[in-house]
Symmetry: none
Subunit: 194 residues, 4 copies
């Protein structure tokens, strides 16, 4: 029973991700999510108290999966450089595998409601904070120059988000390994020719 309930909740979350990704929060109709999930409209409200809560739960659900994939990094004790590269690869690979879901989740700074945009901003800042710590560690370990780690984290977050936008909008795919190499090359050595 608990098993089944969990499944249906999951089912709705997945349907919500598809529809929210396709239509955006406001254009998405609860009924369409229900249809996408193959259930009745009222059933959605058995599992979520409102459309907003459904959106946030879906968001957190995907973010949770994303962070779960990244967590392997946290454990390992390689260099910060290596961990950043792997973080990039996992990030890009996750997007490739979850582009529908990611469209709602990873696109920064959604211009939505005041309420939603603040809520999403907070979610985003958590990601930024983790990166900031990573950069700080890199500086402490003398892998990186002493550059403002907060600025680095913001820029890196923005760059990661930007790279996937064409993926999400035009259905392009990226080669995680190749792109990660290029990005890390730019990050580490800069663009100047000398």
């Amino acid at each position: 029973m608990v098993e089944e309930k969990r499944d249906k909740r999951e089912l709705i979350l997945e349907a919500a991700a598809v529809v929210f990704a396709q239509r955006g929060y406001h254009q998405a109709k609860v009924e369409e999510i229900a249809i996408q999930a193959g259930i009745g409209k009222g059933t959605v409200y058995e599992y979520f108290s409102s459309k907003l809560e459904l959106f946030q739960e879906m968001f957190k659900s995907i973010l949770g999966k994303y962070f779960a994939e990244l967590r392997s990094l946290q454990d390992q004790r390689g260099s910060v450089t290596e961990r950043l590269r792997q973080l990039l690869e996992i990030h890009l690979d996750f997007i490739n595998r979850n582009s529908d879901f990611a469209r709602v989740t990873f696109v920064d700074g959604a211009v939505m409601d005041e309420e939603l945009s603040w809520w999403m901003y907070r979610q985003r800042q958590e990601k930024v904070e983790r990166l900031r710590e990573l950069f700080q560690e890199g500086i402490a370990r003398h892998e990186f120059r002493p550059i403002d780690p907060g600025l680095l984290a913001e820029m890196f977050t923005g760059a990661m988000a930007a790279i996937i936008i064409p993926v999400l909008m035009e259905g392009k795919t990226v080669e995680p390994h190749k792109i990660a190499d290029q990005v890390m090359d730019i990050l580490l050595h800069g663009v100047r020719l000398d």
Copy 2:
């Protein structure tokens, strides 16, 4: 008459920018924009055929001002590096001066309607394309290493957008000159300590 009409049109665009920035596209009510502009609700529809068109016109209007400020760069014949630095400064300064407006305009990849998100994506891609050309020129001029200029343009766009998010969300201000220096330093030389 034409003069007056142009003025009132401008008035509505400015009111729209304020309200859209504050509330987001869907939460913004046409009536509130009219009140903000100090005119009647129906008058909005004398100048714009729909809320969507109003949003897009406002968007293009601000983007136009933004590009107008950047245009001085295009004319000058300094190094690409120098032009990038100035572009950054102008960008950050513009945001400082127009944070309300910018909130709607520069935040990338708004998750909105399908219609709106595609339209905004296309606007965004124009910016990216200009940057791509700039990076390409930098490579051709042997200022930069031969790195995929499309990727660079995307990353740079993302980084520029990311830097201003805290500005927009939390009302922080940035020092354009200082930040531009830091960003260019990172862009040119990378983060690696050697």
Copy 3:
């Protein structure tokens, strides 16, 4: 303009009275009230912020008319007995002329929402209080025996309400003068044969 607006508000109040009387609060649909008023559904909300407010305003509106008719009594300086008789006549006459409206208004103690039933109870208590004062005056003037005026007011209110129930439910009409005489006879002299 003010004239016209007042008219439309009145129009809606009258339509609301008809529909609320026919269907009861919960069965009454806002749309049906709009149709009854010959206007669009949205227009109702131009004048009233919610269905509940519309109900309460209609209620107060009719109660206001009712009290306005009774006010003539307050001014006059006849005996309390005479004033009670006239109050009864006016009450019954008002019901005859406004049975549709009265159905919602004068039926005591509607079992509705908690919120509504309390609100209506408070309205009712105002009527009871006025009667209590009248009985008290009657006692002070030595027209009446020293009986608990609160109890008298409650009983008299209940009796007045009860008399009109068949009028409202079955469309019977009453002869105000005749009924008022009978009721006053009972009230003054009681039923005991001696």
Copy 4:
């Protein structure tokens, strides 16, 4: 089995009385009644075909208990005056003991659905009819003056209902014996001082 079913049916009726009394017919949710009864929501429909039927059955059930208490009167052969006084006492005592239940049941003329209000009106008329017969008997026995017994019954019913409204709404209690004395005094002798 029949025994058990009867018990559970009774259980639901009692739960329904509590919830209907607290919330009113429309605000009362079937699920809440089920919870109050400590059973599953579906089980309610094993015993009652609809919410409406449940309400009516509950209503009749309490009315039945009420009438059962009054029936002792019918059998006895005291004076009509004495029987009326006892009827009042029993009525008031019943309300004191069942105020929750009574709130839905005895408050006259509920403005509810068309269907419900007619149905309740008919229930009410049965009570009125019995009182009418009692008054008629009183007149025949020369205890009372020859006053329209229908009018008397209506008024008495209304007065009885009115007295308990503050009890139901504000949780006040009444002293049946004392109030019955007062009411009978007023009924028999009227209020006139002479």
